[in-house]
Subunit: 416 residues, 4 copies
């Protein structure tokens, strides 16, 4: 720190720079990294809806130091004043990428191509950008093919971090901490409102869940939400499906009955459940045969919503519908999540983090788990937009269903 | 381990030795401590309701080794075959006790005095036994007075650990682990049944709670339980009372309104609440003046149940009813807990452990907390009978109230 | 409960029935399930090393009730007095199994075939037993082939739960709770001793780890353990390998440097790490080229120990060595774990549970995690033998290395 | 929201408004509360060390609405442009305070009295300000006496929130989250540096600790830190002292020996420890008699540093030095904390929160606990400056001692 500053660059930003803390983050980053700055031009938005504009000269000790600073500022929404077209290089082999490739954030991103700004399609974190026929496509490293034109560096790339909304809804007010000391019934009500509002506005909602959902007795509530049309995408694993079906066929999950007692022979019921589905050939067949008549997976298949069951190494079976190749499973999840506006994560650490990686930062992400570590890890892994509710899904979800049902009934009464 | 065994002693036990694991624990302890044993006489109970009887010769390397083993076996319910009267010594000064004093467990205990077995009164853990006029009184070390006759050693002392009940109720089936993966709604139903059953049988129920109860919005549910007569003793601290009253007077707790949002100036509302009570002189006066019209403390005072508010170093104020001397507070709690059959601990670590120390092992103890560490610590501190429910009291308690209300209504309908 | 008991059966057990609590569990189970019992014959082991023998008549309300009870008693080590050969049925299709198949526990198991007891090979929980050429093979449901002879029911099957060892080592003394209040430095010392003792006796040790190992700075310690020959099997996922290699190539993990600060551009370093390995074709090649010169995976490959990297849906890349098919990955893990005597689980919930499913109950299983929920879930899923150390692997592992190093040095000095 | 704005007020702020996020928080708060703003005047600091100045017109729907907004802005460091003297009212009775009293934040605060700014003495959160002889004294509500001149409202009161330091030390870089995934050994090193730096600069350091410190085996490390002069104030409870002394006299804590095994009769050792101290009359006497020869409390008393033992309702005994009146204990803690620059909280929730309430926001506050909930609650209660290290004090503290010892040795070598 504190060396002589020899290299300079001009950056600019606009938007709600103050209250979205974009400017604070940029100045912080420069100072943290030992750089200097001088503000050249600042037009502050005088009223609530006005945007601000700022031009800053950034100084680093040498070219390398300055470049490292600019790289960070870029991810925070700053851009070079002199805009040029994006630079690309050709991938020499499958999955082998040129050094210095641009790696994506989870914010909306644009690349300047032939003088115009092209939005990166389906942008999410930790991917590369491939140019193809004038389109810019967000591509995971594992999908890079020989010959792909991969974007290099940050020149000609623009990132637009989320701004503070002028009218906030409830969940945008909440800070993303992990306190368990919040009025739980009120949170139920607010989440119910948010779900109803999202659906009325035509938004898509995804649910990601783990087997704790079934063990804690919340499965019928999720089944209701699916049946009534509140859920558009269901992402889960083999264990959720197995225990959900076990509960339908044998009345147990993890060998425990509804009273939470281990019952006789119960520990093998999940194997019998797998065996029954195997005998039918698939869950779909078991439904067609009338063998499976309810539950989460039943409702999802009946409703015809995308239902991705991803494999993991702890699976028994697994069931025929489970995608055992993790790369394919991730790809299927990614596809199913396109266009989703809200994601509700229920009692699962692995799937929450996996889905968090696939979501753009503007998707409302609510992670409900009794273990605060799930929320903490989700945010450590970059899903800063996630809101954590530290509560017991076994009671929270039934209450949520009652609340949504009540709000809808109330709404219908108003219409009469 | 494995030295020559030179000293022998005969012990005996009776009861449901096998399924209550009393015998297993005794043999385990002997082996863990490097002793040897030989079973001299064993009459196993042949049917479910039959008790067993066993006589064992225990061997140690020397007298000291054997004594240490016997001391441990004693706390597990074993006794010397040849019974003698209890030995006592006189306390030389206040709070100064003779070396080798007998320290209590939380199990029912008897001392042999002039040839007959006398039950130790109000026995709980980590105390001494004082003989006085043919009575045996469990006495905390801080209450020992000069001249007290204090029981020394284990000779003539009999401990009766809880046996496995022949007909178990739900909560006795539950293991005392800290899993959060249990069917929550069912647990609500079972706890409701247990409370209704206990009250119908004339049992006393104590509630111990922390401020999280108010912050999570569960206070109206506890207020209902008190008003309807389900709670006989309320143990809490200054913070519960302050935030409960703050909620009544200003609609906030910790400065957050019912929506969980920090509201304007809210952070000082708890001080205003204290100030209002101070101006009235006491909570009781504030109720008499019509200033305080609801809430947990209001209902407890209206109902006339013992309501002990114990002070702690994090208190603001504190309120006039708070007992700021911790020794006096503990004594008041102890007195209030006498005769209680069930204790429900809600979202508090400090008070749960303090109350756990005061409870005999036969009191049903249910600790409800979203933080599994509270349950773990409670059991680490010796309250092995405690059952932990890892859930969110903010949703659990309102559901419990609905369930109890429903069960009672159902019951009344049956009577018509 | 309490109906008339019409059906009777005779069971017998032998071993250290009292102190291993086998008898207590059997009587408990009969009573919990509403059955009755009468003890016909009991020879108690009179001294420490003597075994006991018991014969019990079990009564149920009807044949179905009695069968359910016997099924449970069977898993606890009881067997029918009259022994018959095992029954089998032929699997009609791949992965389709006959109803009533026998599902395995994680205890050593024997089947009676043509009058002799055959040990089930590589037995672990939640599998089936297939008879083939006089061998009995533990087979996961997903590996059942059309025509397999699958064991049905419990007749002719004997389960041998672990008995209380007569001479316990330190870790066998520890109860499997999840307390964080234990003397940590002493635990380090004891685990070091256990590892050294196991290796000196020729035992195999497996390590299962998650990326927290790298993030907390413990990777060099594990690398040392591998290099020095203490670890025989390494089970991990893509994330561990990526961050381990990232740390080697760029000095960061999750984009944070050794000081735990997010550094410039660090969030893309893990992608660069993947890209570098892709360019070499594999981790092995990268080592051969001299690109990768240290770290956990480097040491494992150099040492030639089995190193299974299992894929998951949260993987970036994944790296070429990662097994992306979860069924194949599980199979590879299973194979690698054969003959292992001790398994150390370090900071991973998913892998710990997956590995727990594959381990017989006699494998020493130590789960080290700062999150008590990992241990709780592991035991909820059936790995009752697991011992949990709730501590910070980032400091624990470096201390463990120092301790082992010191013990070995001490040992060598003694030899001089 | 969105009503007509009828009332206006001018506020101003100066300082590092952007990067300390003071301006962002003020604009956010206005918008959250439904107000409007117009920036009248803004001079941005052009370079790193320049401060900014802003004047803002705030609009509310009516006088009451505007006042509520201004009250919040005030706590964020904004002040009215036209400055007047502070207003006061006389307390009518002991502990009874005039409505509308000013309640303190934990930031440095000044009141304008007879035209000059007077700093509030020993300011900390949730207190009142009393004017007396030209001094402004921060006073808890419980200490208000009849006749005290209590400050009313925010007019003439100025709050100075902490600014982002231009040169940060390590701990100021850390965000106050509760992640357990940080490089632990490095954190040890950095904390060691911070402690050494603070002491070399003549700063005072306080330690707050709970009994987990003793149970996890970290007591000798804290004893070393006290003996070597790194700790200036020790705050603890009865349990710490009892178990520390138990360890000295009997080699156990909570009846467990250094190996973490419950030893014979160990559960009564803490009572024997209390009894021994009682027999001596006090801990001091026991030291003088040579009965107590080491441990945390021994070192603190030998060193002559303030050592406050506060009582709680879970205390056995308590020991003679324990302050059993919680109001007096809090007062003693408050006095001992005056002038402290750094506070280290070790494994205690109750004491951490209590001490957090007493600390100004500029005191470096490091909370080390294996339970993330302790850190979360501490920050929920207003100690926003607290940094949480989620780690195991049983291994962390011994490492910290080695690190400090090494750094000092290194430093001395440099001087030779």
């Amino acid at each position: 720190m504190g060396g002589v500053m020899r290299e300079l660059a001009e950056i600019e930003m606009n938007g709600h720079l103050i209250d979205s803390q974009m400017l604070a983050k940029v100045l912080d980053k420069i100072m943290d990294m030992g750089g200097e700055f001088e503000i050249k031009n600042f037009r502050i938005g005088l009223k609530k809806n006005d945007t601000s504009y700022i031009q800053i000269t950034v100084a680093g000790e040498d070219g390398y130091h300055l470049d490292r600073i600019l790289l960070e500022l870029h991810a925070l929404g700053a851009r070079m004043v002199e805009m040029v077209d994006v630079k690309t290089e050709i991938a020499p082999r499958d999955m082998v990428v040129p050094r210095g490739f641009y790696s994506t954030t989870n914010h909306p991103t644009y690349v300047r191509y032939q003088g115009t700004w092209v939005e990166v399609e389906h942008n999410h974190m930790d991917c590369l950008v491939v140019l193809e026929d004038g389109r810019a496509i967000c591509t995971p490293i594992g999908h890079i093919k020989k010959g792909d034109r991969v974007v290099i560096g940050t020149a000609g790339v623009k990132v637009v971090p989320p701004e503070r909304p002028r009218q906030k809804t409830y969940f945008e007010f909440m800070s993303n901490d992990v306190s368990s000391e919040r009025p739980s019934c009120e949170l139920v009500r607010q989440l119910a409102e948010e779900i109803v509002r999202t659906k009325k506005a035509g938004g898509k909602i995804a649910v990601v869940c783990g087997p704790a959902l079934v063990h804690t007795g919340a499965a019928p509530s999720l089944a209701w939400l699916i049946r009534e049309g509140y859920i558009d995408v269901l992402l889960a694993g083999n264990a959720v499906a197995v225990h959900d079906i076990e509960r339908q066929l044998f009345g147990t999950s993890l060998g425990m009955n509804c009273e939470g007692n281990a019952i006789s022979g119960g520990h093998r019921n999940h194997l019998y459940a797998i065996s029954e589905i195997m005998a039918s050939g698939s869950i779909k067949n078991a439904i067609a045969e009338g063998k499976l008549k309810g539950g989460i997976i039943y409702e999802a298949i009946k409703k015809g919503i995308p239902c991705i069951l991803a494999g993991s190494i702890r699976d028994d079976g697994p069931l025929p519908e489970v995608i055992t190749n993790t790369v394919e499973a991730k790809y299927a999840m990614d596809k199913a999540l396109q266009g989703v506006e809200m994601t509700i994560m229920l009692g699962t650490m692995l799937h929450s983090i996996a889905v968090g990686n696939l979501l753009p930062s503007f998707v409302k992400t609510i992670c409900i788990d009794i273990n605060p570590a799930t929320v903490t890890k989700l945010m450590d892994r970059g899903s800063a937009q996630a809101i954590g509710l530290v509560t017991d899904i076994g009671i929270f979800l039934p209450q949520l269903v009652k609340e949504i049902d009540g709000q809808e009934a109330h709404h219908e009464n108003l219409l009469k």
